[in-house]
Structure formats: structure tokens, C-alpha cells
Symmetry: none
Subunit: 405 residues, 2 copies
Amino acid sequence: MSGDYAGLIKDLLEKTQSRILLVVADGLGGLPMKPGGPTELEAARTPHLDALAPSSSLGLLEPVGPGVTPGSGPAHLALFGYDPVRYNIGRGVLEGLGIDFPLTGRDLAARFNFATMDGRGDLVDRRAGRPSTEENRRLVRKLRDAVQAPPGFELFFETVKEHRGLLVLRGDGLSGAVHDTDPQELGVPALPARALEPAAEKTAEIVNGVVARAVEALRGEKRGNTILLRGFSKHEPLPTMADRYGVDAFAVAQYPMYRGLARLVGMTVAPHTASAAEDLDALGREFGARTFFYLHFKKTDSRGEDGDFAAKVKAVEELDGIIPPLLALKPDVLAVTADHSTPCRLAMHSWHPVPLLIHSPYCRSSAGTRFTERDCAAGALGLRPSTSLMPILLAHARKLLKFGA
Amino acid sequence: MSGDYAGLIKDLLEKTQSRILLVVADGLGGLPMKPGGPTELEAARTPHLDALAPSSSLGLLEPVGPGVTPGSGPAHLALFGYDPVRYNIGRGVLEGLGIDFPLTGRDLAARFNFATMDGRGDLVDRRAGRPSTEENRRLVRKLRDAVQAPPGFELFFETVKEHRGLLVLRGDGLSGAVHDTDPQELGVPALPARALEPAAEKTAEIVNGVVARAVEALRGEKRGNTILLRGFSKHEPLPTMADRYGVDAFAVAQYPMYRGLARLVGMTVAPHTASAAEDLDALGREFGARTFFYLHFKKTDSRGEDGDFAAKVKAVEELDGIIPPLLALKPDVLAVTADHSTPCRLAMHSWHPVPLLIHSPYCRSSAGTRFTERDCAAGALGLRPSTSLMPILLAHARKLLKFGA
């Protein structure tokens, strides 16, 4: 969606109390395991989605563009209506979102690995023997105790998992245009942080100072005597969904990265939930008071990543099971779609468009009768970029005025 | 369609005598009245369109973009191949088109209402008691007699209908960036015309002078002692269809706004017609001599706006009835589509894509067998922006050369 189009939509907004419920079944789109076979959606028993399909509009959404396999960050931003190429969230920032770290607009974030170097400073293990998360916490405490930020800056070391951590530098004038220090090979020293543009030279200098003090702090560790930094990125606050779409948006997601992505676009995020029942409770408590709801459903992606067809089919059936309580909330518009496809056939994210179902009183029926990739391909909504979804949902919720006379 | 693409199409044009007939059934796209029910097109008996469908290419066109409900102006411009966001025709200009006022490139147009204010100048009726059109004409004569344009400018007051009128100011250096004088509420005075940018200050000053003299002229009227102005817009002549597509275009439309829109893109417009038979006569007289024909069919929109499903179904059946005489003209390409949808379910324009049928010797068949929204969604032409239509019609008429070797 071009910048001008976003401006047009904003000009046409009309605030109403109608409620949109967007269910994102992560990695829902699939593939046949054998040519001509059924996809996960086709193989699953989905009586509730099947009951909705004939009176809903079906279609396909393409997350980033033809042929592009997206990560969860760009795929979600596109669903929320943000051009994922323009709003390219850096890896450091995503790592921060993934551990619920409260990033501010003055923060530079980077991922780090604990790594091991020999006496000459050459790397011998880029993952420090894959320490336990507990061991990671011990090393992070050492860094926190010994490494100081330069005057005017704040410094945060955070454990992520095993050998992985998050470094956040907070202060004015920082830049994300800094090259990784991870050389991605063994037998060579870590690279110095190098500015990719003149405005990043001060940042690179600070980072190099931080790394030098980290190495001092970790001296004597047999495994994990240095850190390798990757994915430097500045946290740039995005325009909010309230600003762009006039909605009061609420997010329910069991995994921190999705809560972080929702927070990034200004949604209010439900406290941590750990089951479908808790998700539904969280939605139910807010449903009278807000106008946009994002519910994240993770299992379809996890089972796809495992490449376990039967398990992903079961996850689809679990998704189907929450449709009746979601309908009982009486949303004005219910949309069920995915951020990206995660076909078991590939056991990873893929570039295939994702199925979309929109249920409202203003839907055209599609030729198909089930919520499957095949029926969605012949559906009333056609094949569209994921960034088209938000204006279509707003229209079905009667939140957009007419353009021109 | 980007500017570059329009340039490419222009480069590829080949003038031929082949004839394109574009039938725009206003507001044709519909919705089921009840979830899963038939749309107006599905409910109608359309033997002639049904006979064409299997050997025609079907598809869907989206007038402005996802979720956007267009007015007739932008929706028609898009069908004619003009980006409706870039060529945003102002309300004043549209009002002028709607009464066949011959606008020039030096004209600033605005809509006005006769309104009533009390002794202190506060508005008590924004529509002056909804006078008859005859009474409007009497008040307009008073304005014409008493209000003079400043030197170097010309001024036109025109009756539109009831309380509505058109003001046109003609001269050099006028700007449409002037705020409405209609405050949209009662108990307050009319607003002064205010420039929205420095270049509009002179225009605002002239308008304020015109309004002051209009108030003097209307003094003593019990109802309609002032005018409220809205939708200031400069008439910017558009590139013509002859220039962009090499066609000699002819328009037949019973309603003035559509004749005006056709004139805006340089079509020759048939004299006023008042029935399908007169429309067909007008087309028939020109059919040997020109290469592009636009026929506007209004009833489908009017009955949709009424929310009268049975009446819109009947209008669709009337549309079907003119297919045989249109085919008898032997166009090389016949296209039947809509400017926008006007579902009876909503009783207003909507954002839903519109059905498209293209009949020519070079058509791929679609999966469907009828000209309905559902079959069009699965059709050979896919879902496209309305601005894509013109190049596709030119191609089917063999008016475009190969690009590259």
C-alpha cells in the first residue's frame, strides 16, 4: 500500500463502535506432502470454519510480495497494514520484542552470542559450547556488574536463551548503521564494530568500548570469553493503528514476539496468557470496550516448522474449535488468516500466499465451500497483498466514508 | 496504473478502425440480502449475458483500491484509465459537470446552498426551507442581476435543484485551496472564505466580496437571505482519451454528470437521450465513424440506492435486454462492467469490486458460466484495479503493438 493510499484511508476514517476481530493462525498456509495430495487445511476436520465459509468472503493474501518468504516480523506488520519493506524492523529490535524488553525511541539494539576465543583472540566456538540458559544468566550478571556505559548513555545486557543475548544501548544520536562484529567463521578474530555511514561513527566507537570491557569481564571463562554482535538496529517508533485506522486495538498472544509486534503498532497488549481458554477470557474482558482485536494462534506454525503433517492438521482442528466462542463475542467483522505459510512439506516459512476468510453481513459468497487454499484462490476477495487487509476490514466494519462524489 | 505505465501504453498504440464498446452499468455489483443468498446479478434472469459468459473472459475490477467506496466521479475516471486519487475531481467541478455547465481551464467552481440567517447573522436554516427549483431560479436571477465580478473576472450563478446551486468564477490565477464557508451547523454565522495556502489568498478575497454582494442582493428574503459555499475546486483539464489511447471516443449517457465526466476526458458526447431506444439510436448513428463507445446505464445504481432488491434485479434484466442490439452493432470488443457496486443490502455505493465481462474473439473462458460476482471472482481476468481496464480493452481490440523484441 503506497504512502498516498494510507493517507487516503486516513482521510476517509469514521470512528464507530463496530468491532473487528482478526485471528492470525501463524503459518496456517500449507502444501500437499505429495503432488496432488491434500494440504493441512484440506486434510483437517474443520466443521466450524466449513459452516462459515459459504456465507463468508474468501481470498488469498501475499505477505511481502511474489516469491518472498517472510519472517514473523514483516509478515505481521503487513497484516497490520504497514509496508514491511519500508518498515523493516531490525533483528536486534525483534530480539528485544521477543523478550518483552521495553524499547524506547532512543534505543539501539543488537543480538549477541557468547563465543569462545583462543589465546591469540581467534574464535574457536561461535556459540560458546551452547551453554544452558542458566549459565547464560551467570555470564550476563558478570557483564552487568563490570561493563559501564559511557556518560550520558545507559546499557542493558539481557539473557535470551542458551548462547543468545540482547544488548541495548540507550541515548541520543545512536545509529543502527553498524556492521556485525560476528565474522561468521572460526580461526579469525571478532570484527571491530564498523560504521556503515559517517553518522554511525560515534555509535561504533561506543560499541567497541563496550565489547572491550565485556572481554575484560569475561576473562578466565573457559567457554564464553567474548561476545559477537549482530543485527544492530535502532528502534524507530511506528505510526500507531489508532492514528492510521482510528481503532482502539487490543492484542492477545501467548508468545512475546507477537505481543512485541502488537505493542510496536500501538496496540494495548493483554497480560501473558498460556492457553486458548485464557486467550478467550482476555478477549472477553475487553470486548465491550475496544474496536479492534488481534488474536495470535501459534501452534499451526510450530507444527509446520516440525514438518509434522498430522500434528499440524490437529493444530488446525484446535483452531477450528475456538471459532464458536469467538463468534459468541459477536464481532461485527471476523477475519481468519495467517501471517505467512509454514507448510509441513518444507518444515519452514514459505512464500505461498495465505488463506483469508472474512465474515460480516456484507460478504459476497465464494465459489468454494470450505476454508482451504484451493477455495480461497477462487474466492470473492481475490489475491491481494497482505497490506490490503486493514482497509478491507475497516470497510466491512463500516469505518470508511465514501471517496469523492 | 503508474504514470510510466501510461507512457508505455501510449508508446505501443497502433491506430486501427477496430471498435470498443464499454457498457457501464452503474452500481451493478451487489451483495446477498441474507448471508449465503444470491446477489442481484445471481437472482436476475439474464439469458443474453449468460449466453455470452462461457465464451467471454470474466474478472473483477476494484475502482479505487481495497476497502474504498468511490463516488461516481473517481469510479468513472478509474474505468477510463485515470488514477482517481491523482485526478481527484473536486465537488464544485462535479456539480458543474452534473448540470452540463461548460467549464474551462480558468474556472473555479463551488457548490452553494441558499440558506437563511437571522438578524444577527446566525444561521437558522442551512437549506432555506428547501425551496422549489422554481424559487431557486428566482433567487439566482436576483444574484445574476446584482452581483458583479471584479475586473478581469467573470461570474456565473446557476440553479442546480431546490436549495442547491453552482458558483463559477472565471479568470487567471484562481485557486481551489479555499475552505468551505458552510459551518455545517446552526446558530453561528457563515464562515469567511479562508485560503488554505498563500496562493489562494486572492481567490478567498474575491469570494468574500462575492458573498457580501450576494447577501446585499438577497436582503429582505424571508428564506434564502444568504449563500453557503462548499467544495471549491479548480477545473483542471485532463489528458484526453484520444491522446492517451489513440481512440475517437463517443459517449451516450442519460444523466448529465456522466456526460460531464466523458467530456472531461475528451469524449464527444451524444445529445441528451432519455430511453434505452434513444441510447441505441445515438450509438448506431456514430458506430461506423468512431473507435470507442461508452454507454452509461443508470437504473442499476438508482434501484441499488433505493435498497429495492426486486427492482434492481429487474434493472439487471433490462440491461440484459439491450445486449442483443449492442451485439448487432458488431463491436470488436464488448465490455460490460460497473463503475462501483451499489448493493441493495447497503442501499449505497460500496467498496466491493465490480464484475467485468469482456467479449472478443481473443478471450479465455472462465470457470464460471454466468455473469455474476461469484463467477467473475474465479474468472480468467482475475481481480485488478479499474485503471487496468483500458489497456486490456485496447489489447483485445488489437490496438497495442508488441513491447520489445
